[in-house]
Symmetry: C2
Subunit: 278 residues, 2 copies
């Protein structure tokens, strides 16, 4: 396949992101100062590794620390009593597993790795400290969590009102834009290490049916897959197929008004710091 060779070539030219993926993502919300970026880098510094196909957090556990995913892919999922599985979310670099859930008494779902991953554990204390002292980063993290919620809502729309072709097209588009937001694409090409079974468990379909639809997409020249590298050859067509509108990802940033508001908080905070002799 000439096409495959071609997009591998493209992919190999993807520059390694210079900033950490969380920073990259948050920059879609609002500009961050050098100090903010430094702080985020420190936050992302500690490192822990997990192999593929293990649970980082299991259903029923008490949520403890928070993890920042730095590399690899993971998922939130739940097993049904009859052994079937529903994947709720894919986690990609720059995503936080459970910035919030530590408020809850016990996990209602599991988080498992899909590929080997590198994560930065973040303690509840440092996160709460951040919230108390850095309004702009807090707002950005909050925004990011709103974005995640919007993605959940979009999944509901997809599962409720799109057919198999629409669901798959929509999911490929969402993954493309999310990867773009953290600098992990080259044009419409990115690495997608999912099995067809995992896609099926995400979209409420069977692996067999996912296979048939993907075959169809390939034959129509909409996508190409090779060595887990996915090319969306006709993004427009795919988006049309799904009725996909990337608005729900809210990549356009905050309104000027909201941004000003958090800037003013930031200034107030700096004032506090000075008066406290910091």
């Amino acid at each position: 396949m000439a096409r495959a060779a071609e997009h591998r070539a493209l992919y190999s030219s993807v520059p390694l992101p210079t900033a950490n993926p969380l920073t990259r993502k948050l920059l879609h919300f609002a500009p961050l100062s050098g100090a903010d970026k430094l702080l985020l880098d420190e936050l992302a510094d500690p490192e822990e590794r997990f192999p593929a196909n293990v649970d980082i957090v299991a259903e029923g556990m008490v949520p403890r620390s928070v993890f920042l995913l730095k590399e690899g892919m993971a998922m939130r999922y739940r097993n049904m009593p009859d052994g079937r599985r529903q994947i709720m979310t894919f986690l990609i670099p720059g995503d936080l597993c459970d910035m919030h859930v530590f408020l809850l008494k016990e996990m209602d779902h599991s988080i498992g790795t899909i590929t080997p991953v590198r994560v930065a554990p973040i303690s509840r204390e440092s996160l709460m400290g951040l919230f108390g002292s850095r309004p702009r980063i807090s707002a950005a993290l909050w925004w990011s969590s709103m974005q995640e919620e919007a993605m959940l809502r979009e999944r509901i729309v997809s599962l409720g009102r799109r057919d198999a072709r629409g669901r798959i097209a929509y999911m490929l588009c969402e993954l493309l834009w999310r990867h773009t937001a953290v600098g992990l694409t080259d044009g419409e090409v990115f690495r997608l290490p999912l099995t067809q079974t995992e896609l099926a468990d995400t979209l409420g379909l069977t692996p067999v049916h996912v296979n048939r639809v993907l075959k169809d997409f390939r034959q129509q020249g909409l996508i190409a897959i090779n060595q887990r590298i996915l090319s969306l050859l006709k993004v427009e067509a795919l988006q049309a197929l799904a009725g996909f509108n990337k608005g729900y990802l809210h990549l356009g940033g905050a309104s000027a008004e909201v941004r000003r508001y958090f800037d003013s908080l930031e200034d107030a905070q700096r004032g506090n710091d000075r008066s406290a002799g910091t």
Copy 2:
């Protein structure tokens, strides 16, 4: 139907809730002081009314103020390009419409009324003020928003991996528990002003199919419906049918550890207030 008469009788004995529904809900997270409750009552005091079947907020608008739903029922929904509709969430008394979304540039879905509603508009300022000064209420609101997110995830599980009977059973159970949490049930009986079409648009089904399943449930003696009053006659059976586990609603409250943490913040805050001469 003797049964219908019976459950109407039951329903009429439901006492009017003394506390406002938001307070009732938040008490599931942690105890609140008298001052906290007073503050929540003030928050809920302003009033605005909307008739049934109108949009309170429409897709594409800039999210402005936040609303507390005090009475009636509303929904978040989205219209698809082909005219079909997906309902994402039902809002019942005690729910906040978009505590968070004001961080986003534009709404990616609409909020519409199902029945006439009474809401309390809350300004961004008073909400932010609360977050700055009342750690315990803030934590409770945050918890409530986590709970909403958990409900979204559960919907995804439902749409992805349950059949029509399971979905409907699950939705009835969820609505029962949510109403219970704000004191709007009497045993397994509560008022549910939804049409079958609305249920269908929530669960990714057609009104026709919802009708057939409900008929079946009625014939099996699982439920009874009369004048929009719903009785879950065999909750156990319904929950078994859906594989329903109310754990995801997190009604058990916060862990002792989390609660202590926010109590300590509260104390620190009171210290600040005193030293600032308030």
